[in-house]
């Protein structure tokens, strides 16, 4: 695989991007992108583009009750109101969880030109929790809000917050961790998954896990206010001795409310380890660039990024800006090498084609359609809110296949079936339909009447890699019904534009565009980002 090796590093890429580079950037940091977004960023220098992309979106209004029916009602939450602050209700918790997931898909679909939503998904995979285990949608929403708030903030602060997050305390049994019966679950994952990771450079011991667990004793969860607090009576006040890996650090046990400050000391200690920054940079790299990290990439990209990360005090934006400014990120060999995750695939598809969902005034149908999209991703093995376990989705960490795990003989046909349905009949429920309007999409392109330019524009938007000229020829033959005269398409298109209400004129182009897009979206190329 010699031709896959890249020696480029973190040194800055030229500030003026080519169109190809701009599209590469947008494809990676957004869920799909549109011509409108290309136009918006076009002509701006890279630094300015990144500053814009790194602006977090404003906090959205919370998810709503759209699930009340004749057979199911939420006692404290009328239809159309939010349930996030209402008391727990066993009968509706499942519906609330679905409401949360639908709402989340909705946030992604309306992401705007910001990396924010993609980073929230990154953190969800990093601090993986499962709604089924947490068992209360209100905790889930609160946890999600935390990730949303810190997604582009400070990583160390985020770790501190997540450690005290009620949902996490429930998910990894932190609320059961007491001086009399310590529970090591969170203490272990905090080191192994959330900060240091595993690997030859990471030498913490089982004793370190136990010491950390003792530090973390005393947290309790209030199920009414969905908050956590520190109970000194449950806290282990003894000194905690760490191994030589941590320079034999001793965290002195404290009584009373001060016991909680041991948690901050512990986290500070974890962040003194250089591996914490490197581990997170590798995860970012695998999420945004490619899964293989060879020696050259480690030296030229990961370590320099980790230095930036540490120097900034674990601010997330500088490290992202450095990565997305690097020659390495724009290395042509890295183009198209990401296999879209199911969420990236379904949300990206909807965004690229501007699929119109029922409006907010019709929240019931809107949420239902959002959930239809969410379920598609779930069937493709990425159930938002419910990764398989605390490690997140295997595609982000499982050697040696990583992202290739998304594509198998079950999931690939599902991807094709979804695009087939949306391009042809659309999905209809309750008299509402979501579909890919190939005519509207084509109309919004620059040169719909010229088959060569039309194909070029479409492939630029939808494919991350170039296709050979014989494939272009084939695609053109679909538009031309096998003819070789370009003007036959031009005439048919112009005739449609002049007579948009003429059914025959419309169907002539619609037929061919439907076949065309169905084919384009079925190709392996469309699976790549």
């Amino acid at each position: 695989m010699r031709n896959n090796r890249t020696t480029t590093g973190i040194q800055p890429q030229v500030q003026t991007l080519t169109d190809l580079q701009l599209r590469h950037l947008l494809r990676r940091v957004l869920f799909g992108f549109t011509q409108k977004e290309v136009t918006f960023f076009s002509g701006k220098i890279l630094s300015e583009i990144l500053d814009l992309l790194l602006i977090p979106s404003i906090a959205p209004s919370p998810p709503l009750n759209t699930y009340t029916t004749a057979s199911l009602s939420d006692p404290n939450v009328p239809l159309g109101q939010t349930w996030v602050n209402a008391p727990y209700d066993g009968a509706t918790n499942g519906a609330r969880t679905t409401s949360f997931k639908s709402w989340w898909i909705g946030q992604m679909l309306n992401q705007g030109a910001s990396i924010h939503e993609k980073m929230i998904l990154f953190w969800h995979n990093h601090f993986a929790t499962e709604t089924v285990d947490i068992g209360d949608a209100r905790y889930v929403y609160k946890h999600h809000s935390l990730l949303r708030k810190y997604a582009l903030g400070n990583f160390k602060d985020l770790v501190k917050e997540v450690t005290r997050d009620p949902a996490m305390l429930r998910y990894l049994n932190g609320f059961l961790n007491t001086k009399t019966s310590p529970d090591e679950n969170y203490a272990r994952e905090l080191q192994e998954l959330f900060t240091l990771g595993k690997g030859p450079k990471v030498q913490y011991t089982e004793a370190d896990v136990k010491a950390a667990a003792r530090i973390l004793t005393g947290y309790v969860v209030n199920a009414t206010s969905i908050s956590s607090s520190f109970d000194p009576n449950r806290h282990d006040t003894g000194n905690k001795q760490f191994s030589s890996y941590y320079n034999n650090k001793v965290i002195v046990g404290k009584t009373g409310a001060a016991g909680a400050t041991e948690t901050d000391e512990l986290i500070e200690m974890l962040f003194l380890q250089e591996e914490t920054a490197a581990y997170l940079c590798r995860k970012l790299y695998r999420f945004f660039v490619y899964y293989e990290i060879d020696q050259a990439t480690e030296v030229n990209v990961i370590q320099p990024l980790a230095t930036i990360f540490r120097t900034s005090g674990y601010e997330i934006k500088p490290v992202l800006k450095a990565l997305f400014s690097s020659e390495h990120f724009f290395d042509p060999l890295n183009r198209g090498g990401m296999i879209k995750s199911p969420v990236d695939f379904v949300v990206g598809l909807c965004r690229e084609f501007g699929i119109i969902f029922p409006s907010a005034s019709d929240a019931v149908n809107q949420y239902f359609m959002l959930d239809y999209i969410r379920i598609q991703a779930s069937n493709m093995q990425q159930n938002l809110g419910d990764p398989p376990n605390v490690s997140g989705w295997p595609a982000y960490y499982q050697e040696p296949q990583f992202h290739e795990l998304w594509i198998n003989s079950d999931t690939l046909p599902r991807r094709n079936q979804l695009t087939d349905i949306l391009v042809t009949t659309g999905y209809t429920r309750n008299g509402k339909k979501i579909n890919i309007d190939v005519l509207a999409y084509t109309e919004n392109l620059k040169n719909p009447g010229n088959p060569n330019l039309l194909i070029q524009d479409i492939l630029d938007l939808l494919y991350a890699i170039e296709v050979p000229s014989d494939v272009r020829q084939f695609l053109k033959s679909i538009l031309l019904s096998g003819q070789s005269t370009d003007s036959y398409w031009t005439d048919a298109w112009n005739n449609y534009k002049a007579n948009p209400n003429n059914l025959v004129a419309k169907n002539l182009v619609l037929n061919r565009l439907t076949s065309f897009f169905k084919y384009v979206l079925n190709q392996p190329e469309y699976q790549l980002s």
Partner: protein
């Protein structure tokens, strides 16, 4: 198999389009019900091969009417084939072949070829797209139908497809297309029956499990991975591959550099390899010969000659191969093009979009004859003149379905949407026809159609003889458009009269067309000033 067994069969069929060396492969699977029915070998192993000639083939330079040669010489002197070079046919009457068509000449002389004269439809459309859609859907000219005729046929037979297909009882595709675009002919009435082979590698690679080229870099690496999965998920990939593998030796006389022959060679291989696939579709483009149709200094050479040579040599080699592989009795083929070309040639040594044209039915069991009269060429032609239609193309479809696939009348009605005239296209010795009632003998010369006065001004009275049963009497103008239907009814046997009124028609030539059972006759009428 009993005809009534078909009655319970309902909608569906599935296409597998895939780009294979510029070819598309679409496959339709068969149903368990049909597989159960198709135990009877004489019924099941019939195969229909459709050859689409893209662009509109110039019928008058393909099948050249000796008896019209002088008028033809007036109309198209710059592209006229020298009389002494036109190929004569044993028992072909006035029909001669373009000199490039020695292969088809041999087939005719060996009684394996039928020429059906002047096939078209009322109100011809001169747009490639629209005309192609009409031929594919078998709709009326002014009617828009979203399904294809072959798709409807498959839908009638294979209920529920693709649900549950392929299966162990019937693992093969229902229909396979090797061609340059997704043919609407295979579109089913309700569901889109298309299922993509998402792998854009050439057909030989599919058979041999080879991957097409991928670009360098990580994108190329992941593309290759997804293509591999796509190949594995290709439902019919294995059966197609296995069928191809069974045929290790084929007829050696296929011409080289002939894409039609290459496609047909694949079809022969799959047929002989034991696929129970019913319909194959192949195509050859380039017939849109507006300019430089011939080499002006040697009109029997040039673009059109080359194309006809490919058709002729391709079909001949295919037939020889089928005989070599002992599959010749199973196969019937048909050529078609979306329209013919004008009678009068243009100034660019070419011809413009026309209307009716001859088509060929070939095969061991093809009815060996020239069906219909020579198209009548007026002494003086104008640029817009077309030869009058003798046979509706849907009659040919309906006849093939009934006589080759034994489709009963009730189903035929659903597939063809109307009741079309049956033509004898299959020899009566073909197994499927053994129980069919005899069609009337070829009595064209005994049909009677006269008009008086002729020329006429305000009206003319047509006298016609019917053998009883459904009788159609139509009037077409010189552009090939139907302007009046005088009789469309069951009439008693005998001679009848009807008056054709001049409703303000332009002076000039009009054609009266009489159709009675499988017979038809046209007569030229002159409307004077």
């Amino acid at each position: 198999m009993k005809r009534r067994d078909f009655l319970r069969l309902g909608p569906a069929g599935i296409v597998l389009p895939s780009l294979i060396n510029g070819f598309t492969l679409k496959a339709f699977a068969e149903s368990p019900l049909v597989s159960a029915l198709t135990q009877a070998p004489t019924e099941t192993d019939h195969v229909l091969v459709l050859i689409q000639l893209n662009g509109g083939n110039d019928g008058l330079n393909t099948v050249i009417p000796f008896d019209q040669y002088d008028n033809l010489a007036n109309a198209r002197s710059n592209i006229l084939i020298p009389r002494n070079k036109i190929l004569k046919l044993n028992g072909g009457g006035n029909a001669g072949f373009h000199p490039a068509m020695t292969g088809l000449q041999t087939l005719f002389n060996e009684e394996k070829l039928q020429i059906i004269q002047s096939v078209g439809y009322p109100q011809p459309n001169f747009s490639h797209f629209r005309a192609t859609d009409i031929w594919m859907s078998a709709s009326d000219s002014n009617q828009y139908i979203n399904s294809g005729w072959a798709g409807r046929y498959l839908a009638e037979e294979y209920e529920g497809f693709p649900m549950g297909y392929p299966n162990t009882v019937m693992p093969d595709p229902l229909a396979i297309q090797i061609g340059s675009f997704v043919s609407p002919a295979m579109q089913g009435p309700s569901v889109n029956m298309g299922m993509a082979i998402t792998d854009p590698v050439n057909f030989y690679n599919l058979i041999n499990g080879i991957q097409g080229p991928a670009p360098a870099g990580r994108g190329g690496k992941e593309l290759t991975y997804i293509r591999q999965v796509a190949q594995q998920t290709q439902q019919y990939g294995t059966v197609i591959k296995n069928a191809a593998a069974k045929v290790t030796k084929q007829f050696s006389g296929y011409p080289t550099g002939n894409s039609l022959a290459e496609q047909l060679k694949i079809v022969a291989r799959l047929i002989a390899g034991g696929l129970k696939t019913r319909i194959y579709m192949v195509s050859l483009g380039g017939f849109d010969t507006h300019a430089q149709q011939v080499v002006a200094s040697a009109t029997d050479t040039g673009t059109h000659a080359l194309l006809l040579k490919r058709v002729s040599e391709g079909i001949k080699a295919f037939m020889d191969d089928l005989t070599y592989l002992n599959a010749h009795k199973r196969v019937l083929g048909m050529t078609f093009s979306e329209f013919g070309r004008r009678i009068k040639s243009n100034g660019s040594v070419g011809t413009d979009h026309g209307a009716a044209a001859p088509l060929f039915v070939f095969g061991h069991y093809a009815q060996n004859e020239v069906l219909g009269q020579s198209p009548e060429i007026p002494l003086i032609t104008s640029a817009s003149d077309n030869i009058p239609m003798q046979y509706d193309f849907r009659s040919v479809y309906a006849s093939l379905l009934k006589q080759w696939f034994c489709v009963p009348d009730s189903i035929l009605q659903n597939v063809m949407l109307k009741n079309f005239q049956q033509l004898q296209v299959v020899k009566k010795t073909a197994p499927c026809l053994s129980s069919n009632p005899d069609l009337p003998p070829n009595l064209e010369n005994k049909l009677l159609l006269t008009n008086y006065p002729n020329p006429f001004q305000s009206s003319t009275t047509l006298s016609y003889e019917s053998f009883g049963g459904h009788t159609l009497l139509q009037v077409f103008n010189t552009e090939g458009k139907l302007i009046k239907t005088l009789v469309d009814a069951e009439v008693s046997a005998g001679t009848h009269k009807i008056t054709f009124e001049n409703e303000g028609f332009a002076p000039g030539i009009y054609y009266a067309r009489l159709q009675n059972q499988s017979l038809q006759l046209t007569r030229t009428m002159l409307l004077g000033r």
